[in-house]
């Protein structure tokens, strides 16, 4: 397994592509800025959203129970899944009990997190992702590289080639309209054939048991309306108390995500169709444990807008796959280690801690603060490399002792000044691979000060 730094290096090998990736996502960040600027009280709105989420999480148990009661009254069937595996089994059971075999799906990062597609495919169920980006990566057999724009790493020329191979579109036709039409035609057939439609959930409203899904392509609606059985999969943190709270999030979500005022569709699903079934699977998969961790609880406020990815200077230049977790970017880097701290120990370090993610986040998650906290916790857990640990230990000793610090500085400066260039810029000098070291200074500030203001600093010994 390779770490983020290594994968990022690989991504950057193709400089032109990396520049294109960076520019594309930066444009979305700029669109977001323009949109946010047009909303009076944007910062107050963020604060309100943050507080609604905090409140909801603090009374999650009550709201979940209320939601369940309401949804059952509406005629929906509620299923509780404590783990990813349980979600997969529940969905499969519903499919099997109804003798179904064809499934369409729209807008669900949760099922991606739980590995639903491979699970169902193994059981012989045909599951088709119906959103354009999701369908592209499904055909490419790749994981998403972004939570809102899962195929943002794929260029239109590559999509054209992919569609030519898989969907028999015209070779060499790169026209996005043509490619979209090709996908649409192909997917229409899938919608018509489907027995079951699965969607993700953006918000679940406790007071009336409604599910809200925000989409641009309308595929959630298409699937749900056409198939007799609808299944909505949601994490427990999707709960908000009231419909009126929804307004706060709807104003923030699309603006933060893609720089739109609002998504094309904001679909509310309340009850099953006549002679249809509506299932809601409520998934924990580690979330309730996260509520118990004070330093990290706030990450559950996330509404999956992806703004932290679009703004992150590291994400934009390393691509979503460099994070090797289902959710990439800054938010993924604080979520991933909860599931496996050893496997994802590199991710909290895949950040310069610039803090842009926290300032752009519509629900005010202190993302870079959590990245910093993770670094400490991973070190405490003993999963960091022993070499790194001992370097830190030695550095700690040096920086605690004035004498050792002064002498180490002297030696380092002397080496830079006197050693031949080849020796200094050796293989182990990572800084020097593409950067010059600072020019050697014969004197430290301290030496200059002592010389000019008296040994030991005549003023220093206050």
């Amino acid at each position: 397994m390779t770490n983020h730094a290594h994968r990022a290096g690989r991504f950057l090998k193709n400089e032109e592509r990396a520049a294109w990736h960076d520019k594309t996502l930066w444009m979305i960040r700029q669109k977001r800025d323009k949109m946010a600027l047009d909303v009076p009280g944007w910062e107050e709105l963020r604060e309100q959203a943050s507080q609604i989420k905090r409140h909801s999480l603090s009374k999650l148990n009550d709201y979940l129970v209320q939601f369940e009661e309401q949804a059952i009254n509406n005629g929906a069937q509620i299923h509780w899944a404590s783990t990813a595996g349980r979600l997969n089994e529940i969905v499969y059971r519903i499919i099997k009990e109804n003798h179904a075999s064809k499934v369409v799906k729209s807008k669900s990062m949760l099922t991606e997190e739980c590995g639903l597609n491979p699970f169902l495919e193994k059981k012989g169920v045909k599951i088709i992702d119906t959103d354009l980006g999701e369908r592209i990566i499904q055909l490419k057999q790749e994981p998403p590289s972004h939570i809102v724009m899962p195929a943002i790493h794929v260029k239109k020329e590559e999509i054209s080639e992919l569609f030519h191979q898989k969907l028999h579109s015209e070779k060499g036709n790169y026209d996005p309209t043509y490619l979209t039409a090709t996908a649409r035609l192909h997917l229409r057939q899938k919608f018509l054939e489907a027995d079951v439609a699965i969607t993700g959930v953006n918000f679940a409203i406790a007071e009336n048991g409604a599910i809200v899904v925000c989409t641009n392509e309308g595929n959630a609606d298409m699937g749900v309306h056409a198939a007799p059985i609808q299944i909505h999969c949601m994490g427990i943190e999707k709960i908000i108390p009231r419909t009126s709270d929804l307004a706060v999030f709807i104003r923030l979500l699309a603006r933060s995500a893609t720089g739109q005022h609002i998504t094309t569709y904001t679909s509310h699903y309340l009850k099953p169709k006549t002679s249809g079934q509506m299932h809601i699977v409520i998934v924990d998969n580690g979330r309730s444990e996260l509520i118990g961790k004070e330093d990290y609880r706030d990450s559950l406020k996330c509404i999956r807008c992806g703004a932290c990815m679009n703004t992150c200077p590291v994400y934009r230049r390393s691509g979503g796959h460099s994070y090797h977790y289902v959710i990439p970017g800054p938010i993924g880097s604080i979520l991933a280690p909860h599931s496996n701290s050893k496997k994802y120990k590199d991710l909290p370090f895949a950040s310069s801690l610039c803090g842009s993610c926290s300032d752009v986040c519509p629900v005010k998650i202190n993302i870079h603060g959590q990245l910093y906290r993770w670094r400490q916790d991973l070190s405490q857990k003993g999963v960091l490399s022993p070499i790194k640990k001992s370097i830190m230990k030695i550095s700690g000793k040096i920086l605690t002792s004035t004498k050792m610090y002064d002498w180490s500085g002297r030696i380092a400066r002397w080496c830079i000044e006197h050693f031949p260039r080849k020796l200094i810029y050796n293989r182990l000098n990572i800084w020097g691979k593409e950067r010059e070291l600072p020019e050697a200074s014969r004197e430290s500030f301290k030496q200059w000060y002592n010389k000019n203001y008296g040994e030991g600093g005549k003023n220093g010994q206050k």
């Binding site: 730094a5 990022a8 950057l12 990396a18 960076d22 930066w26 800025d33 946010a36 600027l37 909303v39 910062e43 703004t311 200077p313 590291v314 230049r317 950040s351 310069s352 801690l353 610039c354 803090g355 842009s356 300032d359 910093y372 670094r375 400490q376 070190s379 405490q380 960091l384 790194k388 830190m392 550095s395 700690g396 920086l399 605690t400 004035t402 610090y405 500085g409 400066r413 990572i430 800084w431 691979k433 593409e434 950067r435 010059e436 070291l437 600072p438 004197e443 430290s444 500030f445 301290k446 200059w448 000060y449 002592n450 203001y453 030991g456 600093g457 003023n459 220093g460 010994q461 206050k462």
Partner: protein, 246 residues
């Protein structure tokens, strides 16, 4: 008013001229400045690498040295931010609180405490301001581009009053340079790419001098620029503010 001068470790070792400029500037402003020579570092390099437990001894040393001053002033937004923000893990004694509250980055000290923004300087150059992240977003020296609020910048306020200065506009006004402390070593490819992109932005927009509140960002940018033989000068903001005083 007694000022403790905190010169971060890398400035002490590699950029004494920045320390000298800071000291001279504060003295010109009529302040009584003390430089305790036992000082070493704020501990950030360790803590950012996950070794907060090793850093605590450095924090304690810092607090012991600097708690006796009315203010601690430093030419580094990042180190000041670290003291203010991340010394929260120490038992919050009077000394610790005092140090956390009274440690200031140079520009914010001049603007907020000395309440002046015209240092009567001349600097007839095209200047690109690199807004170091910890100063900008951590110490709130200015409005980050993400936040929708009235625009201000303490750094620009000080620079704008320099006679003859032209502050250039950047395409991305506050993107990170990619230094990020040990990030620059652990993630060298991304770090350097971020730095190159910042340099391109400054160059495209005609910067003759690139300045910042943090020499660490400039050390990284200058390291790339020198390797690539780019013609641009780097000056810490203290050097500009201390230059050519009328």
């Amino acid at each position: 008013m007694q000022i403790g001068l905190f010169i971060p470790c890398y400035i002490d070792q590699f950029y004494p001229k920045v320390g000298i400029a800071t000291l001279e500037l504060l003295e010109k402003l009529g302040l009584e400045v003390y430089y305790p020579s036992e000082q070493t570092c704020c501990g950030q390099p360790l803590a950012n690498s996950g070794a907060e437990d090793e850093a605590i001894q450095i924090y304690n040393k810092f607090v012991r040295i600097f708690s006796k001053f009315d203010y601690v002033v430093s030419p580094s937004g990042s180190c000041v931010y670290h003291v203010r923000e991340n010394y929260n893990i120490l038992p919050q004694t009077d000394e610790v609180n005092r140090v956390r509250q009274n440690t200031f980055e140079l520009c914010e000290f001049i603007v907020d405490i000395l309440k002046t923004d015209d240092l009567k300087i001349v600097f007839p150059h095209k200047v690109g301001v690199h807004q170091s992240c910890h100063g900008l977003r951590g110490l709130k020296l200015g409005t980050p581009s993400e936040l929708i609020m009235e625009h201000y910048s303490k750094v620009h306020r000080l620079l704008k009053n320099a006679k003859g200065i032209e502050i250039i506009n950047l395409d991305r006004k506050d993107e990170c340079c990619g230094f990020g402390g040990t990030f620059s070593i652990f993630q060298p490819d991304i770090s350097v790419k971020m730095g190159k992109d910042r340099l391109d932005d400054h160059k495209r927009n005609g910067a003759e001098v690139i300045t910042a509140t943090d020499m660490s960002c400039l050390m990284h940018l200058e390291g790339i620029a020198r390797r690539q033989k780019r013609e641009v000068k780097f000056m810490h903001i203290a050097e500009i503010l201390n230059s050519n005083r009328l």
